[in-house]
Amino acid sequence: MTEPFVQEFEARAGTATADGPEWLEPIRQAAMERFARSGFPTARDEEWRFTPIGPIVQGSWRAASGTSGELGREQLDSFIFGHPDWTTLVFVNGVFHDALSSVGPLPGGVRVASLAEALRSDGASIECHLARHAPVDGSPFTALNTALMREGGVVLVGAGVDLDMPVHLLQVSTAEAAGTVAHPRNLIVVERGARASVIESYVTLAPGRSYWTNPVTEVAVAAGAWLEHTRIQRESEAAFHVGLTQVDQARDSHYRSFSFAMGGALARHNLHVRLNDENIESLMYGLYLTRGEQVVDNHTAIYHDRPNCRSWEVYKGILDGRSRAVFNGKVFVQPEAQKTDAKQTNRNLLLSDGARVDTKPQLEIFADDVKCTHGATVGRLDDLARFYARSRGLSTSAAERLLTYAFAAEVAGEVALVPVREELDRLVFERLGSR
């Protein structure tokens, strides 16, 4: 199953159009070897037990190669939160689309560019980050991405800069994406004391098409820095999406993540956060809406390596049809990480009888003076609450919509960017209204 990818890799290595600077070659090479050696994971692999990746493994995928057709900015209107003024990098079927992108006036010390461009002109400043955070040993998908990555967004925010407007990395797939695989690679670096907000979106203009997106995003939050990272996954409901976000946090930093998922026949997102020093705060919120035969899988891992850090995680899911949600949340607390305060919650709401949830909140704790809790629930709407809403004059369906919305709003309300929060509200309502 690995053969086509190895061939693609070798074919590309032979061409004159080098994929990047010299230092990147051995990294790619090692990643490809790693992938060829391990192959795709199997159901025997504990990490992948509940993720049915069969269609990805058995499928034959061509490399995504942009678009030949005309694409206008107005087609992207529904994906930009009503803010054409935000710096937005647009990638169409895995390839950077200059005409659709807009980089507004940025403060000094801030660099926003496509990966290919950044590798050409800023090689040195990304050398210490690219492929240094996300280990290729972590997963064969990461290894494959590292070997074959070409495009993605690079956001570098220099020390002390307060970036007041968010940066949006928008991956769009069109009808031409059918049967292809893209390996977007993003890098977000927020230097000492800086402050930024980055949105990463995966959207489609061809809802019924089947394609595969295999993104990896590396995030480095330096000492005292602040980052809000919003990830919106609205792929085609016939598509496959297996993504990793790998975060490294330094002392006194704050990272706030929101992961929203409603697309994909199979969509998996791994979020790994390493708290490498003291007094770090990490907030992780997630919301997934599924229907039909969708499978949405969220794997999170938080590594408390040092004392006095806080992590807070809430993932919520609303499942309809015969869809399935998987949640796996790991919290590791190393012996040194005393005074850790970690809380993890996963709550699932089942709207239909065929829906199914596999949740595995997991704690691995090696320090004694810590406060760690986790909780997981699976259930349907509370009959009493429904009755109450009915008694106030709401119809059954309105009562159910209201209660379901309230369930989602608890996490959606945590998105600090108001336009994004409003868009998420709209998406939730739209989905509930379509029932």
């Binding site: 504990e46 012996p335 040194e336 005393q338 699932n348 089942l350 709207l351 239909s352 009888d353 065929g354 829906a355 199914r356 949830v357 596999d358 949740t359 595995k360 909140p361 997991q362 704690l363 691995e364 704790i365 090696f366 320090a367 004694d368 003076d369 810590v370 406060k371 760690c372 809790t373 986790h374 909780g375 997981a376 629930t377 699976v378 259930g379 349907r380």
Partner: protein
């Protein structure tokens, strides 16, 4: 403080004596001949030998589960173990008075004087020494109500129809590596049958002990509660101190027919190895119950011993309205490792399960809770509540939680909560200023932490469990 810590950590294993009794030991190794030898020694019928051989053939194709449990140990060499060890007796035992006095002494040291118990405690005991049942107290009295309580071997001889009907019906012979091994070589165990509508008038009890070096213990327990019957069963375990590891791979099967209730309580205090992790029992046990409609199965366990514990007492909630419970206290100290928890498989409508797990880690111990709650599509209205709390004492130990919650029915409701914390310094301070010393303060706090589980234990076990907890933990707090 640290000197107290040391003195208490170095406290010797109280049950580490060896009883010098001549044993009938099978040659080391495992093959069809050994299985035939065991079966022959036990004068078993042909069907049972066939069943054993089938299990052996299945086992030979299986591999030891090393990848998923959160435990590490040097692989067991299954060919260097003796699979049968029986105290040598000249004639078949007629009554308990014929039992070798040395054996009875051993039990007295363990705190279960069989004869006294018969008179005073009113607990019927089936004692398993190495792998052979040495005598069952109170048998006659139970027989009056039609209750069968005997060694497994005896059950095979006297009640083959019951054994044949239920053996392997809950834990199939190919269920897992250790269960298959047990099925091939099990040498004895306890058998209980409670007839329709009978409430067993007293708690039944088994005491296990591994005595001989380089033997494994593979007992098999089968408890059947017929429609509307109820029984409470207690099990306790100890072993002598030895440098090498010993294997204990038991299987317990519970069958609760319609409306029946089975309560199974364990206090496991196998030798845990020394402070460097040398020796100790590898406790790889498969325990499972099958609950028919309106039946209830309740597991309570206090696990303080063993170098390694690998055990997941489970309930298959097959019948509508059936109930499963799991209450557990697992303590690890020294270099002990425990990977334990439960499985609650909800199949019937309105099935309910409760899981309360308390893990305490001290020294360099590693404690994992691993549990599965599975609600199948037909289990309408199923309900699960899980609470697992861990307490860490010192920062060289670990506490881990691996709950798997798999829900396929929207009308069901599952809740899982887990917390990890340390003993509150303010709590210790408070108790100390009330005049208690640190040791007693800790003992009170830990017992309070475990109270929800202890209250599920039958009286005599609850007392023993609290004392054991004290012995296992005292001094581990600095």
């Amino acid at each position: 403080m640290s000197s107290t810590v040391e003195s208490l950590v170095n406290k010797e294993y109280k049950y580490g004596f060896v009883t010098d009794i001549e044993s009938d030991v099978a040659p080391k190794g495992l093959n069809e001949d050994i299985v035939r030898l065991i079966s022959m020694k036990k004068q078993e019928p042909a069907w049972l030998l066939e069943w054993r051989l089938k299990a052996l053939r299945g086992w030979q194709k299986m591999s030891e589960p090393h990848h998923w449990p959160n435990i590490t140990y040097t692989p067991v060499d299954y060919q260097s173990i003796s699979y049968y060890s029986a105290p040598r007796t000249k004639t078949p035992l007629g009554s308990i008075d014929d039992v070798d006095p040395k054996l009875l002494d051993a039990y007295t040291k363990l705190g279960i004087p069989l004869r006294e118990q018969k008179l005073l405690a009113g607990v019927a005991v089936d004692a398993i020494f190495d792998s052979v049942s040495v005598g069952t107290t109170y048998k006659a009295k139970l027989a009056e109500q039609g209750i069968i309580f005997c060694s497994f071997g005896e059950a095979v001889r006297e009640h083959p129809e019951l054994v044949q009907k239920y053996l392997g019906s809950v834990v199939p012979l190919s269920d897992n590596f250790f269960a298959a091994l047990n099925a091939a070589v099990f040498s004895d165990g306890s058998f209980v049958y409670v007839p329709k509508g009978v409430k067993c008038p007293m708690d039944l009890s088994t005491y296990f002990r591994i005595n001989t070096a380089e033997t494994g213990q593979f007992e098999r327990t089968l408890i059947i509660a017929d429609e509307g019957a109820s029984v409470s069963y207690l099990e306790g375990c100890t072993a002598p101190k030895r440098d090498e590891n010993q294997l204990h791979a038991a299987v317990v099967e519970l069958v609760a027919l319609e409306g029946a209730t089975i309560k199974y309580s364990t206090v496991q205090n196998w030798y845990a190895g020394d402070e460097e992790g040398r020796g100790g029992i590898f406790n790889f046990v498969t325990k499972r119950g099958k609950a028919a409609a309106n039946a209830k199965i309740s597991w309570t366990q206090v696990e303080t011993g063993s170098a390694i514990t690998w055990k997941y007492p489970s309930v298959l909630l097959q019948g509508d309205n059936s109930v499963g419970e799991f209450y557990s206290v697992a303590v690890v100290n020294g270099r002990q490792q425990a990977d334990t928890g439960t499985k609650m498989i909800h199949m019937g409508k309105n099935t309910r399960s409760t899981i309360v797990s308390k893990g305490i880690s001290a020294g360099r111990g590693q404690n994992s809770y691993r549990g599965q709650v599975k609600v199948l599509p037909k289990a309408e209205g199923a309900r699960n509540y899980t609470q697992c709390d861990s307490m860490l004492i010192g920062n060289r130990c670990g506490a881990h939680t691996f709950p798997y919650i798999e829900v396929q029915n929207s009308s069901s409701s599952t809740e899982h909560e887990a917390s990890t914390s340390k003993i509150g310094e303010d709590q210790i301070f408070y108790l100390k200023q009330r005049g208690l010393n640190t040791e007693n303060a800790i003992s009170i706090i830990v017992n309070g932490f475990c109270k929800e589980v202890f209250k599920e234990l039958p009286m005599e076990f609850a007392v023993e469990a609290q004392k054991l907890l004290g012995v296992s933990l005292e001094g581990s707090v600095g």
